[in-house]
Structure formats: structure tokens, C-alpha cells
């Protein structure tokens, strides 16, 4: 026989259950606009009926239901979909950062307008042309100096904008590292609370929502994967290592790197390992800072160094209106004051490297003469080639062929013949940030080409090679060879017109004829103006004009790629997020319909309780009174 108060119990359970349902709907409606909220549902189940098959069951028809119970309040969320969103979000973060910063780099070029460095360079060449046809004019010389200064201002400006961009990227890297640490800490804290709550049998839905939101934010910064296998320990992996494990988290640190102009490396704080993210905002920032922005600065520096080198070479041989000669047009700033280029790289008090920029052989060579020698040059190269590259030469090669082969071999050495026919090797910007720019690192010849033929080195083979790894590398050079010490870092920042010329414009040399009276000779100015079309850039295959066109096209292509990739990735993310919203989002109409359902249920339960109450009242108050 069921108990007297069975009806009231049934009603009571129903009232409580329906109230819980209504409260949950209220919670859903309140949080309809909350970011990252997934709708919660009450799961109702019929309460355990009586009687279970047991010895003390009543001999009555069974089983009799006992009303309803709310078993769980659960959130509607698809964890597989979540995993996919986390995986794709890093792509969006990556391209979004890349798109924004490459636009900044593109705008530095100022192409294809008339306001770019290229235009200033055009006008500089034009001023030399003017001087070449008016070699006795002082006005033409002043025009050359003024246009030179304008060009230098343009180069400085461009360098500073690029450097600023790199500095901004550095700030962002540090900011992102701090944000990632903050998120890790919060996720670990939430995991701890969630585990405690689950241990008591609850569904900490709001905490889970919040944790998922934080994981989503982190996934756009780093490429992470999440692990839910162990319900007691929520794991976030990045780069194959644990970032967050349960309530324990690993901090990242941004450590300044002296070899990379004090820009930071991202490391794990507690172990000396570097974090190398492959996707996400951090990866984009690091790639931009050490890749794209650095390359842009290197290209500008290479342009400047070539420019200074070539103009000075001709100008030094020229004569000014006042007969002075041997003047540089652009002031050259060496990296060190040491005449032999010796430098103490690791700071231990002893010279351990030689920083040489340019070597010129002593023997004049003919470009079309066949070398008649056999051998191979070993030259320093970037990490893609494993640090060294072998350039062979054969007896049937002309000098021109060998020069071209050196320039297209991938070695970080540029070769050319000067106007008087001497073979010159110059250092170029290095691909790896650990190696300095504009330094000749290794020059070796197994035959006689650089030794006896061009008059550069003293001996062949590894013993006679020029290597920057030791002091006094100049001793391996032939005594008549000319060399120059490496320039100070970033020539585009310190380039300036020789102040001696600025003070005395008459010293600007237009003439190449030695006699003091040959004032009408403009051949020097003409030679400088013709540098414009000489192939000295782009691995000695393109002229200055082609360099600008190629640089603008390249950055434009990168920008186009970034823009398209961002649009694609945004579309993908939008579709995934729409799917999630469709599944987990609150639909007001649905909630309101459910609310009506629960209201009716509640009203019905209340009515039933009233009826049960009346029945009990009949028994208690009216039976046998």
C-alpha cells in the first residue's frame, strides 16, 4: 500500500522539478547574449517506481510511479566541434596578424605613386646627368648635393618606419606572451574548481563555458590542442609539450637575444627550450619580425651599401672644379676603428673574428678573357645551403662567366669587376639572424683564380682561405689586394653626404681627366649617372630600377596572399561558429515555448497537490468525526 502522503510527494517532486526547469530557462534567457554561453537543459526522468523486485514488496499491482525527478542540468555543446574550432582558430589568428602588418610594410614602399624612394633616386641620377652636360656649373653641383640629401632623407625615413614596425612587432610579441601566461593561469584555476565540482557529482556548466571561452582565445594566439581523455585533468598541448595540465601551468617568457638586436626569443621559462609556434598570432608576429620586416630592412641596406660603394668608387677617381680628388661622395662609417677588422665577438677580451666587407684583387682582368684555370671556390652561404657553397670554374670560362656563377650560386658573396677591371668580392646581408650582415665569412680557392690570376689571396686551399672566425684574417690576403672593413650596422640609417663636399660644392667631381684645367670634362658625372642601369642588385642581374619593381611586387604578392588567406580562414571560422551557435545558442522562441510547458506543468502539479491535500483532509478531518 503506498503511503498516505504519496500524492503530495509526487506533486512536490513535480513542483520542484518544474521550478528547476523554469529557473534554468530563466538562466538561458538571461544569458542569451553572453559570449561563449551554451544553453542548458534540464533532463527529467521518471522517479524510481515502487516496488523493485525485492522480498519486502507489497502484494499490490505494481510498479507504481513516484513522479518525476531532475537528473541533470547539462549544457548543449559538441566537444568535437569545439576541437575543430580550436584547430582552425590559430589559422585565423595567424593570417589576421600577418595581413595587418604586411599592409604596414606595403605602405612603407609608397608604390606606385610619385612619392617613393625610387622617385628620389631618379631625381638624384637626373642631377648627375645635368652635371655631366654642364660640368663647369656650380649650380649643377649644388643640385647634386641637394638631391643627394633629399634621397638620404628618404632612405632614413624608410629605415625608421621599418624599424618602428619591427619594434611594434616586438611589443606585440611580449604582449602576446603575457596574455598567454594570463590565460594559462586562469584555465588552470578553472580546471581546479571544475574538478572539485565534478567530484561532488555536479555539472559545473558555467565554469566549463568560461574555460572553453578562454581556450578559444588562446587558440588564436598559439597552435594548441586540448585533451579531455582524463576527466580529472584537462590538458592543453602546444608544440608537443604541456602548456596547462590540470591545475598546473607552464609559463612562457620573452628573453632578449643579443644576436638579434635585443629582440626577444620566446622560451619556456623553466627549461632552456625555445617555443616554436607553427600557427597562431605569436607565430605570425615572430615570422614578421624576424622574416618579412627584417628582410625589408636588409634589402634597403643592400641597396644603400651598393649605392655608396659604386658612387664612391667613381667619385674618388674624379676631379672637382677646384682640382681636388680622392673624395668620397657619401661618408663611409666602418663598424670598427680597427684597420684590420679584428673584433672580439664573444666579449672575452681577445680578438676572435675579422669583419671584412670588401676585397679587391690587384690584377686588372678583361671580362671576356678566358681564365684558363681549373678549380673550385668555397664561399659562405646561408643555412639553406648548409653554410658553404662550392663554385667550380673551368679553363674555358670567361671572367664574366665566373662572376655570374658566383652571383647566382646562392653564396652570400657578391662578385663584380670594377671599372678598372679588378675582381671585387663583397659581403651581403645574411639570411640567418645569427650571422652579421655585410661580412665576408669564408672565401677559399682550390686553384689559382683568386690567388695568382686576380691577385686576391696569398695561397690556395683551406690554409690560404679567408675565414672570419679568427683575428687578422687580412694576413691571408695578397699584399697588393685592397680590403674594406665591414660597415656599421644598417647603412640606410647612417648614410650621409660627405660633409667636406657639403661645405665646398666645388669639390663635387665631374671630371675624370687629371689635369687641373680640364673643367669641361663631364665623363665622371656621366659614369655615375650610368650606374643606374648597371646590373648590381638582385644577385647582380638587375639594376636599381628593377630592384624597386621586384621589391614592390614581392611585398604586394605577400599582401595579396595574406588578404585572401584571411578571407578564406574567416569564412571557415564563421561557418564553424555558426554551427556551434546553431547547436548551443539560445533560441528565445524555444525557451519561451518551454517556459509555457513548464508553467502548465507547474500549474497542473499545484492542482494535483491541492487535490491530494483535499483527499487527506477528508480522511483526517471528516472520517469518523
Amino acid at each position: 500500500m503506498p503511503s498516505t502522503f504519496h500524492g503530495i510527494e509526487v506533486g512536490k517532486r513535480s513542483l520542484i522539478g518544474h521550478t528547476l526547469g523554469l529557473n534554468t530557462i530563466g538562466h538561458n534567457l538571461s544569458n542569451a547574449s553572453t559570449e561563449g554561453y551554451s544553453r542548458q537543459r534540464v533532463e527529467m526522468k521518471a522517479f524510481e517506481p515502487i516496488y523493485m523486485p525485492q522480498l519486502n514488496r507489497e502484494e499490490r499491482p505494481g510498479q507504481l510511479g513516484q513522479g518525476m525527478d531532475v537528473t541533470r542540468i547539462e549544457r548543449v555543446r559538441d566537444m568535437l566541434l569545439e576541437g575543430r574550432i580550436v584547430a582552425e582558430a590559430s589559422g585565423e589568428g595567424f593570417w589576421s596578424a600577418r595581413d595587418r602588418y604586411i599592409l604596414l610594410l606595403e605602405q612603407v614602399h609608397n608604390e606606385p605613386t610619385e612619392l617613393s624612394v625610387r622617385t628620389l633616386l631618379d631625381r638624384f641620377w637626373s642631377a648627375w646627368q645635368e652635371l655631366s652636360v654642364n660640368p663647369t656649373e656650380v649650380g649643377a653641383r649644388q643640385a647634386v648635393l641637394e638631391r643627394g640629401k633629399a634621397l638620404i632623407d628618404g632612405l632614413h625615413g624608410r629605415f625608421h618606419r621599418l624599424k618602428e614596425t619591427r619594434d611594434m612587432l616586438e611589443q606585440d610579441v611580449r604582449g602576446v606572451v603575457a596574455q598567454v601566461n594570463e590565460l594559462s593561469r586562469e584555465i588552470a584555476g578553472l580546471s581546479e574548481q571544475i574538478v572539485k565540482s565534478k567530484a561532488l557529482g555536479d555539472n559545473p556548466n558555467d565554469l566549463l563555458d568560461r574555460r572553453d571561452l578562454l581556450v578559444g582565445k588562446m587558440s588564436s594566439m598559439l597552435d594548441i590542442t586540448t585533451g579531455y581523455q582524463d576527466p580529472d585533468e584537462f590538458v592543453v598541448y602546444t608544440g608537443g609539450r604541456h602548456l596547462v595540465q590540470g591545475r598546473h601551468w607552464e609559463p612562457l617568457a620573452a628573453v632578449p637575444d643579443a644576436g638579434n638586436e635585443s629582440y626577444s626569443r620566446v622560451m619556456w621559462e623553466n627549461t632552456p627550450d625555445e617555443v616554436a609556434p607553427r600557427s597562431g598570432k605569436l607565430a605570425a608576429l615572430l615570422g614578421l619580425r624576424d622574416g618579412d620586416a627584417r628582410e625589408e630592412i636588409q634589402k634597403l641596406d643592400l641597396l644603400t651599401v651598393n649605392f655608396i660603394d659604386l658612387v664612391n668608387e667613381i667619385h674618388r677617381r674624379g676631379f672637382g672644379l677646384n682640382g681636388r680628388t680622392g673624395q668620397d661622395f657619401f661618408k663611409e662609417q666602418p663598424f670598427l676603428n680597427n684597420l684590420a677588422g679584428n673584433y672580439d665577438r664573444n666579449g672575452d677580451g681577445a680578438y676572435d673574428s675579422s669583419y671584412l666587407f670588401r676585397l679587391s684583387g690587384s690584377n686588372p682582368l678583361e671580362a671576356r678573357e678566358q681564365v684558363g684555370l681549373r678549380g673550385a671556390l668555397t664561399l659562405s652561404a646561408g643555412p639553406a645551403f648548409g653554410g658553404r657553397v662550392l663554385v667550380e670554374y673551368f679553363p674555358t670560362d670567361t671572367v664574366e662567366d665566373v662572376v655570374r656563377r658566383i652571383n647566382t650560386s646562392g653564396a652570400e658573396v657578391a662578385a663584380r669587376l670594377t671599372q678598372s677591371g679588378q675582381l671585387t668580392l663583397t659581403g651581403v646581408p645574411s639570411e640567418s639572424p645569427d650571422e652579421p650582415d655585410f661580412v665576408l665569412r669564408h672565401v677559399e680557392d682550390s686553384g689559382q683564380l683568386l690567388v695568382g690570376y686576380a691577385g686576391l689571396l696569398n695561397a690556395s686551399g683551406p690554409a690560404g682561405a679567408l675565414d672570419w672566425g679568427g683575428a687578422d684574417a687580412v694576413l691571408t690576403l695578397s699584399p697588393q689586394a685592397a680590403f674594406a672593413v665591414a660597415p656599421q650596422a644598417h647603412p640606410s640609417a647612417w648614410i650621409e653626404v660627405n660633409p667636406a663636399l657639403a661645405r665646398d660644392p666645388l669639390s663635387v667631381a665631374a671630371s675624370l681627366t687629371g689635369s687641373g684645367e680640364a673643367l669641361g670634362d663631364g665623363s665622371g658625372a656621366l659614369a655615375i649617372a650610368q650606374l643606374r642601369t648597371r646590373p648590381v642588385m638582385l644577385g647582380a642581374t638587375g639594376s636599381f630600377d628593377e630592384f624597386f619593381a621586384a621589391a614592390a611586387t614581392e611585398i604586394g604578392l605577400r599582401g595579396e596572399t595574406a588578404e585572401l588567406a584571411l578571407q578564406t580562414q574567416s569564412q571557415v571560422m564563421k561557418d564553424l561558429k555558426d554551427m556551434r551557435e546553431s547547436l548551443s545558442g539560445v533560441n528565445m522562441d524555444e525557451e519561451l515555448a518551454n517556459m509555457i510547458k513548464y508553467q502548465h506543468g507547474y500549474a497542473a502539479a499545484a492542482r494535483f497537490v491541492t487535490e491530494s491535500d483535499r483527499m487527506i483532509d477528508t480522511i483526517i478531518n471528516r472520517m469518523g468525526v
Partner: protein
């Protein structure tokens, strides 16, 4: 996706509105700047092309300016030579007159005076200055007067000082202007070619049959560098000189077995030993000490062939002496030679001017072509851009109105 949450239409609307607004902003920016390419990413390849075209245009502009300058200088030189030619015509008339008429010694002397005056005028022509203050016929020594005169008395001048010598102190440099990619055109003429009447000949008097070049050396003739190798004999030296670009012909003089140099057209030969060499000095062409031309010929060498001024002085002196035979013979021939040289140089200037004219026309045609190409890459098709903008605005309005319709009613509006 069958279930639509309440936020979904909202989010979608924001997304699409944002996209459309960004597109409209881009379109408006491009229209305002009148360019299709706002950043290189809008069309990277076209950006590269446009940069190249603009560079080419700038260079063409510069070449046109250079051509104008060169033509100006050539025009000036032409004018001066023309007036010089007029002077020579008058001299020729006098010479013919003096050679054929029956004149007294005094009358011939008066003719001589007139020739002297015309000589002075010719000297003025040769020393003319251009607008910038540079001497036109001075080569590279633009601020030095090219022809220097010496005065004195000659037989028959009756005590007046007349010009007895004219020497050239300019140099043989030619200035060039760039008129196209690495193409130059010379536009100056050195005075010792324009005003030279006869082919110069330099005869050494030293026997050269046993001569051998001692070490690798270089000689320079009229600015052309000729390399000589150790062990060359005089025939090898002659061969090298003849096969080089220098406008002289070398040969072995049979009388004295010595080296003889002869110009291939009328000009003053400038010879020099370069660096440490002494070949021409050893062969007796140049004097010891390696002085600079043109005053460096050896005392023992004979130099023949004079300038226009030498011809005029010879004619005048013949008239002063009353030597009518000389007037009609060598004097007249000298004047004819001078006229021939001046005319030849006038036609050379004309030819150069024609070449510059052709180049100018070609560049002037090319320049707007490049502007057109650049415009095709860079400029906006305004009608197309406006149409696109209109379409964007229209779809923008349609999106907004549609969304407003969807957003309005919920169940709340219908419950009691």
C-alpha cells in the same frame, strides 16, 4: 543547420555588413585617389609593371633634356663655323685676286693687312664662348682660351705688330651626353681638329731598324691607348698603331729608316708615353722627359702640317713679301684646304644634329606611350568603379531592410 538561435541572424548581419562596408570603403578610396592600386597587394604584378614604366618615363624625360642641351651646343658651334667659313671665303677672294692681278708691292701689302685683320677675326671665331662662359672649341679645358697668339714683326709689315704664331692650348676631350640607355652622343669639338688645315706628319730622324721594346708599355695617340709588348720591333709597333683606333697611320720612312706618323685626316696629332714607358721617346718621336702634348715632339723630329691660322699667316706673309707665285700656289692651296676642313666639320655637325633630331622625335613619341601603358596598369576605369559602388550600395540597402524584417517579432510579442 535546422536550428537557428536568436543571435545567429544578428551575427550574420554584422558579418556581412562589415564585409560590404569594407568593400565600399575600398572602392571610395580608390575613386578619390583615381587609382586602381591603392596598395601593392591590390595587384602586385601591375604594381611592378607600373614602377618600371614610371622609371622609364623619368629617364626619357632626362634624355630629352640632354638632347636639347647637346643640340644647343652644336647649333652654337655651327653658327660660329659658318661665320668662320664666310671669313675664309673673303680670304680666298683676296688670294685669287692677289695671285692673278697686276698689283704693286704696296697694294699687295694692303691686301696683306686685310688678311691680317681677317686672321684676327678667325681667331675670335675659334675662341668663342657659349652662354655659360665656356669656350666652345676648347675640348675639356672649358675655361681656358683654346688658341693663344703671339705677335711680332715680319718682313713687309712696315713696323706694325702682326700675329706671328698661334698655338692650341685646349685639349682633345669630347663631352658626351646620354641620349638613351647607355647611348651617348658627343657634342663638343676640339679646336685642334676643327681649325686644322693639313694632315700633320711627324718624321723621326733616328734609325729604328734595330729597336726592340724593352718592357710592356703603353702609348697614347690622340687619346687612344695602344699596348706594346716586350720584344716588339718597330714593325710590330707600326702594325699595332695602324690596327688601333687612333686616326694616324704609321710607316717606316725609307730614307732614314725611322718611324713616321701621319694623320688620316687634318688634325693635330697628340702623342704621349703613358706611365713609365719611353717607347716614343726612344724612337725619336717625342722629346725626353715625357712632356704633355702638343709641345712634346722631339727637337730632332720634323713636324709638318699646319692649322688654318698657319695657312692664313703664310698667305699674308707671301703678300707682304710680294711673292705672287707663292700666293697663287701654296697660299691658295692652304686656304682651300682650310675651307675643306671647315666644311667637313660643318657637315659632321649637321649629321650629328640630324641624329639627335631623330632620337628626339623617337623619345618624344615613346614618352606618351609609356604614360599610356602606366595608365592602363594603374588608373581606375571611373565608369566601372561607379557602377560597382552603386551595386554595393544597393545590396547594402537590401541587406539592411531584409534584416530588419527578420529581427522583429518573437514569441514574447504574442504571449499575454
Amino acid at each position: 543547420m535546422k536550428r537557428i538561435s536568436t543571435n545567429l541572424p544578428n551575427d550574420n548581419m554584422s558579418y556581412h555588413l562589415r564585409m560590404r562596408e569594407w568593400q565600399m570603403n575600398e572602392a571610395q578610396n580608390k575613386m578619390a585617389a583615381q587609382t586602381r592600386i591603392k596598395d601593392p597587394r591590390n595587384d602586385p604584378l601591375a604594381t611592378g609593371h607600373s614602377v618600371r614604366f614610371q622609371s622609364r618615363e623619368a629617364r626619357l624625360e632626362r634624355y630629352l633634356q640632354n638632347i636639347t642641351r647637346a643640340r644647343g651646343e652644336l647649333g652654337l658651334a655651327e653658327g660660329r663655323l659658318q661665320s668662320g667659313l664666310d671669313v675664309m671665303q673673303r680670304v680666298r677672294d683676296l688670294a685669287v685676286q692677289g695671285a692673278n692681278g697686276i698689283y704693286t708691292r704696296e697694294q699687295l701689302a694692303y691686301m696683306g693687312d686685310e688678311i691680317n685683320a681677317l686672321l684676327g677675326e678667325m681667331l675670335n671665331v675659334a675662341n668663342s664662348i657659349d652662354g655659360q662662359g665656356n669656350y666652345v672649341f676648347s675640348g675639356h679645358r672649358a675655361r681656358t682660351q683654346p688658341f693663344r697668339m703671339h705677335t711680332g714683326r715680319v718682313e713687309g709689315s712696315q713696323g706694325t705688330e702682326v700675329i706671328t704664331g698661334v698655338e692650341y692650348v685646349g685639349d682633345i676631350g669630347r663631352n658626351a651626353a646620354e641620349i638613351d640607355e647607355l647611348a651617348v652622343s658627343e657634342y663638343t669639338l676640339p679646336g685642334n681638329q676643327v681649325f686644322w688645315a693639313e694632315r700633320q706628319q711627324i718624321f723621326a730622324t733616328q734609325d729604328a731598324t734595330a729597336y726592340r721594346v724593352q718592357a710592356n708599355s703603353t702609348i697614347r695617340i690622340d687619346g687612344v691607348q695602344i699596348d706594346l709588348k716586350e720584344g716588339d720591333n718597330v714593325f710590330a709597333v707600326i702594325e699595332r698603331i695602324n690596327s688601333s683606333q687612333a686616326p694616324v697611320r704609321a710607316r717606316l720612312d725609307p730614307v732614314q729608316n725611322s718611324l713616321a706618323l701621319e694623320g688620316t685626316f687634318p688634325h693635330q696629332i697628340w702623342a704621349q708615353d703613358a706611365g713609365q714607358g719611353t717607347v716614343l721617346q726612344d724612337l725619336g718621336i717625342l722629346s725626353r722627359g715625357n712632356g704633355s702634348p702638343p709641345l712634346n715632339s722631339a727637337d730632332s723630329a720634323s713636324v709638318y702640317g699646319g692649322s688654318v691660322f698657319d695657312m692664313l699667316m703664310h698667305l699674308r706673309d707671301s703678300l707682304y713679301r710680294g711673292d705672287q707665285e707663292a700666293v697663287g700656289g701654296s697660299g691658295l692651296r692652304g686656304i682651300d684646304d682650310s675651307v675643306e676642313t671647315l666644311t667637313a666639320h660643318l657637315s659632321q655637325i649637321g649629321a650629328r644634329d640630324t641624329r639627335l633630331d631623330v632620337a628626339e622625335k623617337r623619345l618624344a613619341w615613346e614618352k606618351p606611350e609609356y604614360t599610356k601603358l602606366d595608365s592602363q596598369e594603374r588608373d581606375l576605369d571611373l565608369s566601372q568603379a561607379i557602377t560597382e559602388l552603386k551595386m554595393l550600395e544597393y545590396t547594402h540597402q537590401a541587406t539592411l531592410s531584409t534584416t530588419a524584417r527578420i529581427l522583429r517579432p518573437t514569441l514574447l510579442d504574442f504571449l499575454r
